[in-house]
Subunit: 143 residues, 2 copies
């Protein structure tokens, strides 16, 4: 039996992404597993909204567009077909868990640090977010 | 290239161990990697020592002996040779990190909960123990 059949690699769009992608790609090949490439765009309002009334739609659209382009570029580079690339908007930890569940993923691959990496996915140890995951998690150390 | 060459699976001796071992074994086969089987015995003094002067040597020896026997049994069952089985005494998170470093391990496999599992290895998020690891970590979900 193969340990994993369907993997989700969640990346930010920093210089750390290729290290996580390299590991995820090698894993998917070793296990002959499907690989989903996911990036979660955080709503602009989380950072800037609230106090000052502003129309952030255009900024959000620009961020989404940039994310799609970058993810497509990685997809081409790492041989992940377009229908296995996903950009969503929301809170990274909950979006990653949601997609993993919906898609029947059995391994989530994330960087072991970075704002959207493992720390965030885990949340605080007290919250026990990891207890909530329905699959295994590989934390890739960033050099 | 293979993603991993030398793996360390850290188990407690509860009923969760086989789930972690099954995954670690499948991983080591998929990656053609060496597998080290590690159990850390916590010093009895951590739990009972201090206030009341007692000689805990015999109790400690019994725990060590039981751990060796159980680990050897798992070793036989999962095809891990004796020289790749290790029982040490100390704090699980620091012992696991120490052995991983000394042995040049590139993946640590642990259960995602359980007292000696991932939570402990990670410690508090604030302490950032995971930042201190020199290799990747696979947290195996316990069903």
């Amino acid at each position: 039996m193969s340990a994993f059949n369907k993997m989700l690699v969640a990346i930010d769009l920093t210089e750390e992404a290729p290290q996580v992608l390299n590991k995820a790609k090698a894993m998917s090949e070793a296990h002959n597993a499907e690989l989903l490439l996911v990036h979660v765009v955080e709503p602009v309002g989380y950072a800037y909204g609230g106090d000052i009334p502003m129309d952030l739609t255009e900024l959000q659209d620009q961020l989404d567009k940039a994310a799609h382009e970058q993810l497509e570029s990685y997809g081409n580079q790492y041989g992940v077909p377009k229908d296995q690339q996903m950009v969503t908007v929301g809170r990274p930890e909950s979006e990653i868990h949601r997609i993993a569940k919906e898609q029947g993923v059995d391994l989530i691959v994330v960087g072991s640090h970075g704002r959207k990496g493992f720390q965030l996915l885990l949340g605080s140890t007290a919250n026990g977010v990891l207890h909530g995951t329905e699959c295994d998690v590989l934390a890739v150390r960033i050099n």
